[in-house]
Amino acid sequence: LASVPSKVAGAQTMEVVTDYKDAASYNNFYEFGTDKSDPARNAHTLKTRPWTVEVEGLVNKPGKFGIEDLLKLSAQEERIYRLRCVEGWSMVIPWIGYSLSELIKKVEPQGSAKYVEFLTLADPKTMPFVGSRVLDWPYAEGLRMDEAMHPLTLLSFGMYGEVLPNQNGAPVRLVVPWKYGFKSAKSIVKIRFVEKEPGTAWNKAAANEYGFYSNVNPEVDHPRWSQATERRIGEPGGLFAKRRKTLMFNGYEPQVGQLYAGMDLKKFY
């Protein structure tokens, strides 16, 4: 998948990129199983063509976008982002895509649209674990409008120079690098503009553990573990490599800090 290096501020971390093997084999994608090795084993059944993304709700130009049209909607950029999972591990991944704002501008949101909701595929025929009671399917995520419009918020189609492997959310996914990984919905089929904060899959499953915002924050612990540090996957030293200190907003504070000025992040976790 051809791309050019992105010029968006913060989109080119100089940190060592995680091995492709790890990024494509250690995944949370519960539609294909709850073990992190399950998606790589099971996701071959996902059919990524034909694929349409329906945009609806409070916009002047709703519509259905075929994946081929989406791929051409804006120039594909390569962005090297840190990825911090809520479970306490992290990677550095070269994604390919463009700012979600490019698509949002095209559909012309109305003034009343305050949030964007993302719904992902829930097809029991190709996704063996849709139907398990772990989560409410389809997997739903959401962003506040200003978060969705932020240039770092990426609509991604590829990684490591290639189209996305199925287990990484093919054919189109979100990447929001300052939030825990689960905020970045995979295999998106619907984008809806709404007035009220939408319910999200993990918030519905365990509201005290996963908030709507879920910004990476070393000072707000998960009820069952600390978020102060993280294990970088593939770090030299392996098992005995020291954990890294987790950075506020996953190190993207200069770019996104102002979105949350004045908010109590312990309350809006």
Partner: protein, 217 residues
């Protein structure tokens, strides 16, 4: 079966068999065979093996009685000590890989999270059991007191299950938790049923002579 269990090679064979999971984890750790996150893998695997050995050791007495193979009792101590071996590894994995052997951080972390606290309590409660597992300790304590002390294993089993349940609770992923709970539940229920049955027997016994008196009336 008894013959096999009484064979002098029996104990060494079981001893080595119980070490296999550990050997396999060590092998994996040194050959990059534990996936992208080996620390997490070791932490979970040692926890799983602690629960498995707990199930195995709790199964010894029911199996011994039901199959009429008293020789099984020879293995109970070793299996119990393996529960402690794997729980020590589990705690070490947590202290080392998750907490970087930072003593202060561990002391702060344990009371902070109920799920860690419960697991730690189970680990602590197993310690006196492991420490009094040799013959001299049994003599020193007296068999009755020793047995009462070692009933702590039932509490530990409950705490271990709760620890596992809480770990999986955030993801509503209870399949495996229920399997372990069902096994441990059945093994404890068998003991309860047997205790009640034997109490009933001792209660009905004095009545027996009285009934024998009946015909003379």
């Amino acid at each position: 079966m008894n013959k096999f269990l009484l064979h002098k090679a029996g104990k060494p064979v079981v001893f080595i068999a119980c070490l296999l999971p550990f050997a396999w984890l060590v092998w994996g750790a040194f050959t990059d065979g534990l996936g992208a996150n080996p620390a997490e893998y070791l932490l979970r695997a040692t926890g799983d093996w602690t629960l498995r050995f707990l199930c195995i050791v709790l199964a010894v007495t029911p199996l011994r009685v039901m199959t009429g193979t008293p020789a099984m009792a020879r293995y109970r101590r070793m299996l119990g000590l393996y529960v402690y071996f794997y729980v020590c590894l589990h705690f070490l994995a947590y202290a080392w890989f998750d907490m970087g052997l930072d003593f202060d951080a561990i002391v702060k972390d344990i009371p902070k999270r109920p799920f860690i606290l419960v697991g730690f309590a189970a680990f602590v409660l197993l310690t006196p059991l492991a420490a009094t597992s040799f013959n001299r300790a049994i003599k020193a304590l007296g068999a009755r007191r020793w047995q009462w002390l070692h009933r702590l294993v039932y509490v530990t089993a409950g705490l271990g299950l709760l620890h596992f349940f809480w770990m999986r609770a955030g993801k509503n992923n209870f399949g495996e938790v229920f399997v372990y709970a069902a096994i441990i539940g059945a093994l404890l229920a068998w003991r309860l049923w047997r205790a009640l049955a034997s109490r009933q027997r001792t209660r009905t016994m004095p009545a027996a002579p009285a009934s024998r008196v009946q015909p003379g009336k």
